[in-house]
């Protein structure tokens, strides 16, 4: 999956060499580099602004006359210190981590088994179940949160991390199953046939042949699922009441905004620190991330 991009990249190199006479430098400047620069600037500026706001002392934040707003004159870590030592922020980070890891692992296990069954065991009706999984992927959380809130209250797990760990798989399992089905499909059937002839059971085939071969697919699905649960908002907002169980997005929005006085420095520091884990994860696995994003749409 990740390798498939390479030949195409190579081909594009060929094209730009072969037809580059059409695009001389000044022309390319206007048609390619300038619009691209505008795109990159607009897409990245909020992060730059978030970062320098988090580093500015309070008096600099709202004083655009004496200080250049585009650069922190006296960078300070006071907002980050405040966030880490005087609010529940570290607890929210830990909660988000636990919830994301828990729901990702649960979803991966269920999805590997499900995708293998749909794609390779091919029991009767497996095509329909595959279609059902795809449709489940299209059910948005914003029409499920009310009935889910009622159920969670009845189950007695309201206001606990379990509520989130059990509900996040509703959007993770369809996504991961769909992605892994595509991945399993790309593994040659012959390998499995050989193992079957040698007397391996389905479980052995899955754990000893399919899983080692689909590690890139598992990484893609895992990272993407982790990011999706890290970013989830509406369930966390609805199902969690107490401050110590909140996740980062909900905590930052509901606890750091008090009345009319916005502590912008702390808010931005909270947004920055909350984004860092997923951004780091993303930066290490860009290719996997892109392949899972495009893979989910392609099939």
């Amino acid at each position: 999956m990740t390798y498939s991009a390479r030949p195409a990249d190579h081909a594009m190199d060929d094209e730009s060499v072969g037809m580059s006479y059409l695009n001389r430098a000044p022309r390319r400047l206007v048609t390619v580099y300038l619009p691209l620069a505008v795109f990159v600037f607009v897409l990245l500026f909020p992060f730059y602004w978030m970062t320098i706001t988090a580093l500015k002392p309070n008096d600099e934040l709202t004083n655009f006359r004496d200080f250049n707003p585009l650069w922190p004159e006296n960078p300070t870590l006071q907002h980050i210190r405040y966030l880490l030592f005087e609010t529940s922020y570290p607890g929210w980070l830990l909660n988000t981590m636990l919830v994301s890891l828990g729901s990702t692992i649960l979803s991966l296990i269920a999805s590997v088994l499900g995708a293998y069954a749909i794609e390779r065991i091919r029991f009767s009706g497996s095509r329909w179940i595959g279609l059902g999984i795809f449709l489940a992927y299209l059910v948005p959380p914003s029409i499920l949160f009310i009935p889910l809130a009622v159920m969670i209250f009845k189950f007695g797990i309201y206001d606990s991390k379990l509520a989130l760990i059990f509900t996040y798989p509703t959007f993770l399992i369809p996504f991961c199953t769909w992605l892994l089905m595509g991945y399993f499909r790309s593994i040659p059937y012959e390998l499995e046939e050989c193992a079957l002839v040698d007397g391996a059971s389905r479980w052995q085939i899955l754990t000893k042949i399919m899983l080692p071969l689909s590690v890139p697919g598992l990484i893609s699905a895992g990272i993407f699922a982790f990011t999706l649960s890290w970013n989830e908002f509406i369930y966390a907002l609805t199902f969690i009441q107490s401050s110590e169980n909140k996740t980062v997005p909900v905590g930052v929005l509901t606890e750091l905004v008090r009345g009319d006085v916005y502590e912008w420095g702390a808010l931005m520091a909270g947004a920055l620190l909350g984004s860092l884990p997923v951004v780091l994860l993303y930066s290490f696995f860009v290719d996997y991330y892109v392949s899972s994003m495009t893979g989910a749409v392609k099939e």
């Binding site: 060929d14 499900g114 489940a136 009310i146 399992i173």
Partner: protein
């Protein structure tokens, strides 16, 4: 496809397969069990429960009784509900069109031969990776009534005299939330379309160039038709997620000013959770379903067309 390739004259394999076939149903069931339990309990059942709640007067802390179509009747006469329907449609249509146009443009730009191509592609996706709520908080500060950096820059350039009230007046707020949604959605559209662009053979473009096609003609008659199945799917997803958007609005405006940015999802949340009217909130959520169904059908036919275009391998 694979079945046909494997079956002929391979007797031992055929026999092995026959013995598996007997237990296929059971095995499949066992393997499907974890995913099935999760999806039935936390997805299918709540969907049904949501429809049922829409017909009851359930409130927080009190089980409701069946009231028939009462919720829908009161929504029918509720001008705020109709305003939210209008807002949702406006938001979805404008934001999706902009995301498509700008995303396709960005994909075409990224498909050019560029220095640091992989790096640019990676950073362009950042708005999509960062949690929406957190980037929306950054935007909230960017749109501040007094200390907006955009107003500051425009005032320094002499374009405007006083700060822009981004989120204060209805139409400004609408434009602002749409812009923010587009900002977040462009990378997704661009990167997925880029993956499609890279599968288009360069030789098609070379052939067309030899025949004297202009770059617009090459885009219009080669790139666009080759890309259209993927566009159908990407845009379906995009429409679906825009239509059911909640986070951005909740952070930036909470539906205000004067309900001008209330979407159906935010209205449903407001009525159900802070307002306590679970039944009415569920009815609003159910009212979103017909729109979603039409988007899904669109996606289904988009996928069908793709198989047909690739030579009909329906495997």
């Amino acid at each position: 496809m694979t079945e046909a390739a494997l079956s002929p004259s391979d007797v031992p394999a055929a026999r092995t397969r026959a013995s598996i076939t007997q237990s296929k149903g059971f095995l499949g069931l066992m393997f499907m069990l974890p995913a099935a339990i999760f999806l039935l309990v936390f997805l299918t059942y709540p969907l049904g429960l949501g429809v049922w709640l829409g017909f009851t007067d359930t409130r927080i802390g009190r089980d409701g009784v069946f009231v028939g179509l009462e919720n829908y009747q009161s929504l029918w006469d509720d001008s705020i509900f109709w305003l939210s329907v209008f807002n949702t449609l406006l938001y979805t249509v404008v934001a999706s069109l902009l995301k498509f146009a700008l995303g396709l443009w960005l994909a075409l730009l990224l498909n050019e031969h560029l220095p640091f191509k992989a790096f640019i592609r990676a950073i362009v996706l950042l708005p999509w990776v960062v949690p929406t709520v957190l980037s929306a908080i950054a935007f909230w500060w960017i749109y501040d009534t007094q200390f907006s950096i955009i107003s500051w820059a425009l005032m320094n350039m002499g374009v405007i005299d006083s700060p822009i009230n981004f989120l204060g007046s209805p139409n400004n707020a609408r434009a602002t939330v749409i812009f923010t949604n587009v900002w977040r959605g462009i990378p997704f559209v661009a990167i997925t379309l880029l993956a499609g662009l890279q599968t288009i053979s360069p030789s098609l473009h070379e052939a067309a160039t030899l025949d004297g096609a202009t770059s617009w003609q090459r885009f219009r008659f080669i790139t666009l038709p080759m890309l259209s199945p993927l566009i159908a799917v990407v845009m379906t997803f995009s429409v679906l997620f825009t239509f059911t958007d909640f986070q951005l609005i909740y952070v930036l405006t909470r539906g205000g000013p004067l309900n001008a940015t209330h979407l159906m999802a935010t209205l449903s949340f407001q009525r159900a959770i802070p307002g306590g009217q679970l039944g009415e909130g569920a009815a609003i959520a159910v009212a979103m379903v017909p729109f979603l169904l039409s988007a899904i059908l669109f996606s289904y036919f988009g996928l069908q067309r793709r198989r047909w275009q690739q030579g009909g391998s329906d495997a």
